[in-house]
């Protein structure tokens, strides 16, 4: 059955950042130079083609954009400046909005103003909520203890509630991702055993990001890994040791040492990334979507306000520390609520999942090929580069 070409789709995806897709004339240099392009996931050329022709269902079921880390060699090699790397990036944004069952990411990616308005609104709401709570049960001049302005058990409950809601949202979206890329495919069948056998790839990709390291330059991978590990460390501290983190003014090295390492990692990596984007230091930094800036600025803001409140509390300025804490929360909440399920941060789930799913799909395709060859119907189709 023929698939209908939709020449209008490209205009839609252009709003996610892709600009020069039409320039591509399919020489295949990009796929040849890409260190990750390998049968059966050969990209970026195929994605460029599917996008040019507007084959939406094909695009939606593709895992290839997630297998790219945007080292940018493809864009450098492109004889027509079609920016295949940026196209893959834009497709990741577009896919995020397809996986999202609400229309929120669709809105944010197409209108940065809407995203900023949402962040500001959520920040004000958070500020108002915590201020009301603080003034009702605590003292603005006290940072910790039973009369603290923001008491850690309450914040702890809030954190866990928020984490639960966000995880649920992300799980629903991840399930949709599975359905689009694996579940709904009629040409392959993935046996349950495969899921078990390949399950180890999820944590292994999540914690090492080893595929990123294969992108030629090691620098971007290292910065990204530092940022991720620092975040995971901070996240663990806050979710499980919030009381110890907040307690003071003495320094509990058993806990705070980790906090300091994570803070240095977060701020350092964010600054390096921002600097890279400002200087357009490598191909992957040449094009920055508004959402890239929003994400990094939020991250830096949260890290800096977090450190500020900690320092102020340890130096005896409890009032200032509480204000900084409030400001910190006004950054943390919108960042998590808007970025994790609907924004750039969702890739924390989608990328490792894509590695996992791609292994399942590759196994299933190999199995198909094996059966076909055995039965003798014909040899498997050669891959198209």
């Amino acid at each position: 059955m023929a698939i209908r070409v939709n020449p209008k789709l490209i205009e839609d995806i252009e709003q996610y950042g892709a600009e020069e897709v039409s320039n591509c004339y399919h020489c295949g240099n990009c796929s040849a130079v890409c260190p990750h392009s390998a049968d059966p996931f050969i990209f970026p050329r195929r994605s460029m083609r599917t996008l040019q022709m507007g084959l939406e269902s094909k695009l939606r079921s593709s895992l290839e954009p997630w297998l790219c880390y945007y080292c940018g060699q493809c864009s450098e090699q492109c004889p027509r400046e079609a920016e295949p790397g940026e196209t893959m990036m834009s497709l990741r944004r577009w896919l995020t909005s397809r996986y999202d069952f609400t229309a929120i990411s669709h809105l944010f990616y197409r209108s940065w103003k809407a995203e900023v308005v949402a962040i500001v609104a959520m920040a004000l709401l958070t500020g108002l909520g915590f201020a009301l709570y603080g003034f009702s049960s605590g003292d603005i001049n006290t940072y910790d203890g039973p009369t603290a302005f923001l008491q850690s058990p309450a914040v702890h409950v809030f954190d866990w509630t928020m984490a639960g809601v966000l995880t649920l949202l992300l799980l629903v979206n991840s399930a949709r991702m599975w359905w689009f890329t694996v579940g709904s495919r009629t040409d392959i069948r993935v046996p349950l055993l495969s899921y078990v056998k390949r399950a180890v790839s999820l944590p292994s990709h999540f914690f090492t990001q080893k595929r990123y390291a294969q992108c030629g330059e090691k620098g971007p991978w290292l910065v990204h890994l530092v940022l991720m590990l620092s975040y995971v460390m901070m996240f663990t501290l806050i979710m499980f040791f919030l009381h110890e983190v907040q307690a003071g003014p003495g320094i509990n090295w058993n806990v705070h040492a980790f906090g300091y390492i994570a803070s240095v990692g977060l701020i350092g990596a964010t600054v390096v990334m921002l600097r890279g984007r400002l200087k357009k230091s490598r191909p992957g930094n040449k094009h920055s979507h508004e959402t890239d800036w929003i994400f990094l600025v939020l991250l830096l803001y949260v890290a800096v306000t977090g450190v500020t409140q900690h320092v102020l509390h340890r130096t005896g300025f409890d009032l200032a520390a509480n204000i900084a804490y409030l400001a910190h929360m006004m950054g943390v909440v919108p960042m998590l609520v808007l970025e994790v399920p609907f924004g750039k941060w969702s890739h924390l789930a989608y990328r490792p999942l894509a590695m996992f799913f791609s292994e399942l799909v590759a196994d299933a395709l190999r199995e198909n090929a094996r059966v076909t060859t055995q039965v003798g119907i014909g040899s498997p189709q050669p891959a198209r580069v």
Partner: protein
């Protein structure tokens, strides 16, 4: 008869000959032949010292015949003949033995090859002994030119010649000048208006006192030879009853610029041309563009356009060749459509994108940037166009196996434009016979040499320019027209036409008038004199192929420089 004094020169051609042939042995064998007074080997006979050696020997040793054993006469016969002329000897007292192409390049047995080279040299020595002094003939060159066809090539050729001050008869079959270009809106890749290009030339042709334009006319007859043709120009009959009425004009040269005909799209059924109302040919779209409004049959403005390349070209069933202009014309349509309907979507279905000319690759890139969707189909698996369903937002759907994605896809279309290729005009055979030129299997006129002599033909004085020779674009057609004009101007400037002394002659006293030779001559060089009932060879048209000499039942046709005596002597030399 004076005593024979023959010089034999054996060329080593660097190592080309000497690596297989023992040149010294050839020299030694030749030196003992009757009449040979000097025999020498040399590294490069065609070099200046080599030629000077011949000149010096002729003068000092009083040579009256020269043989050079070297390469093919097609390569250097002219060079050595010139050396003889320089030394004051008649240039036809020369003979060449080909010991390179016929010996060292085709054999590797040194012993046998040397014997063969000796035999060929001996044949040449025996033959040259029988040579006679001949003189080249010279006739006047008529400065008028006949240009057939009033398209861009014909107009250009006529203007070039007229601007040099020579009279031109421009014959155009239709009632107006401009040819196929007059049907075109803009030109690729610079988007200049075709009308602007033409109007300027047509006006200049009209105003030129040297150009006589014959509209609604055609060439009825052409007789004579280079420098001295007589053309009969009569009213165009367009395939009707042929007439011999008209005006006779004398011309020295002929330029054929009869152009092309577009492929008839209704010969292909799967595109639905003629059945689906909004499947149009490129020329039908040109007409819409010239009128300034692109619309569907029912008057609606189309949103989805699809351009299909290679209609009738590059196919097994129709024409195997590429029509060369359609790719860029298709891109031009994409551009013009988007300028006229900014919300339009243009799909371009091609086999290969041929963007070889100046500015073409850039134009292709511009079209990509303007979001033309390029889709590649296989030439053995053509797109199929069908009517869309009532729910679709388009008039037609095109199903095609798209090669770059490997997907079978369906493209929405409101208007499909078929890029019809070029083909030879149906009457090109008639024109070819009239002016005595050849056609290839597709009907295009054949040039004298495809690379080195692209506007001349095998008939001297008859030139071809533009798309009558093969599909080409405007710059190529114009360049060819100017090249043809330049060739003619060079002939006019010399005022005389030199005719080679080698041609066939009929001994009219013994001709029985059987006319066997008349039909046989491939150059139409033999005329029959009704009054004397004898055949006569027109020496200017004769190419000395020898067909008539061999065929004459009475044996009364002799080829100069190829007499029986000369050929038999050569055979005797080779065999002895």
């Amino acid at each position: 008869m004076e005593e024979l004094r023959i010089g034999v020169y054996v060329c080593n051609c660097g190592t080309n000959i000497a690596k297989v042939v023992d040149c010294d042995a050839v020299v030694e064998a030749a030196s003992s032949l009757p009449g040979v007074v000097v025999a020498r080997p040399y590294k490069y006979m065609c070099s200046t010292p080599g030629q000077e050696m011949i000149v010096q020997d002729i003068k000092e040793q009083n040579l009256n015949r020269v043989v050079v054993a070297a390469c093919s006469p097609r390569m250097h016969e002219r060079t050595f003949r010139k050396a003889l002329q320089t030394a004051g000897l008649n240039q036809y007292f020369f003979e060449m033995a080909n010991i390179r192409e016929q010996c060292s390049w085709v054999h590797d047995d040194a012993e046998g090859t040397t014997r063969k080279a000796e035999a060929l040299a001996r044949g040449a020595v025996y033959r040259v002994a029988c040579h006679e002094p001949l003189e080249k003939l010279s006739v006047d060159m008529c400065p008028s030119t006949l240009v057939i066809g009033g398209g861009i090539a014909g107009l250009t050729a006529a203007l070039e010649l007229a601007e040099a001050g020579h009279p031109v008869h421009l014959v155009e079959r239709t009632e107006r000048l401009g040819g196929n270009l007059a049907r075109v809106d803009l030109t690729a890749p610079y988007l200049d208006s075709a009308t602007d290009l033409l109007i300027d030339r047509i006006t200049r042709v009209r105003e030129s006192p040297a150009i006589k334009v014959h509209l609604s006319s055609e060439l009825k007859e052409l007789s004579g030879f280079v420098g001295n043709f007589e053309a009969l120009i009569g009213p165009a009959t367009n395939g009707g009853q042929p007439t011999t009425e008209g005006r006779r004009v004398g011309v020295g040269s002929v330029v054929v610029c009869t152009g092309y005909k577009e492929f008839d799209a209704s010969r292909i059924t799967h595109f639905g041309y003629g059945k689906l109302p909004n499947v149009v040919t490129s020329f039908e779209l040109e007409a819409m563009l010239k009128a300034g409004r692109i619309e569907m049959k029912d008057g609606r403005t189309p949103q989805y356009f699809a351009i299909v390349h290679c209609v009738g070209s590059r196919s097994r069933e129709f024409h195997g060749y590429c029509s060369r202009v359609c790719c860029m014309t298709a891109l031009k349509y994409a551009h013009e459509i988007k300028s006229s309907i900014p919300k339009a979507y243009v799909s371009d279905l091609y086999i290969d994108m041929h963007a070889f000319g100046k500015g073409h690759e850039e134009f292709y890139r511009q079209s990509s940037e303007a979001k033309t969707l390029f889709l590649m189909y296989d030439k053995n698996e053509h797109p199929v166009i069908k009517r869309a369903g009532p729910k679709d937002d388009c008039d037609m759907l095109i199903e095609v196996n798209e090669k770059l994605s490997g997907e079978v896809i369906e493209i929405p279309a409101d208007m499909v434009i078929l890029m019809v290729g070029m083909e030879a005009r149906p009457d090109s055979g008639q024109v070819a016979r009239l002016v005595n030129i050849s056609q290839d299997k597709e009907g295009w006129f054949i040039e004298s040499h495809p690379k080195l002599d692209p506007v001349a033909t095998t008939t001297e004085g008859v030139f071809i320019a533009g798309t009558c020779a093969a599909p080409k674009d405007i710059p190529d057609s114009v360049a060819q027209a100017r090249a043809a004009a330049a060739r003619i101007l060079a002939k006019i400037a010399r005022q005389k036409i030199e005719i080679d002394a080698v041609f066939a002659q009929v001994d009219e006293d013994h001709c029985s008038g059987c006319r066997v030779c008349n039909e046989l001559c491939p150059y139409s060089a033999i005329e029959f004199d009704e009054k004397t009932r004898h055949s006569r060879v027109n020496s200017a048209l004769c190419k000395a192929c020898g067909a008539c000499v061999a065929a004459c039942p009475s044996g009364v046709i002799k080829a100069r420089h190829f007499s029986d005596r000369q050929i038999l002597a050569q055979i005797e030399g080779i065999l002895s």
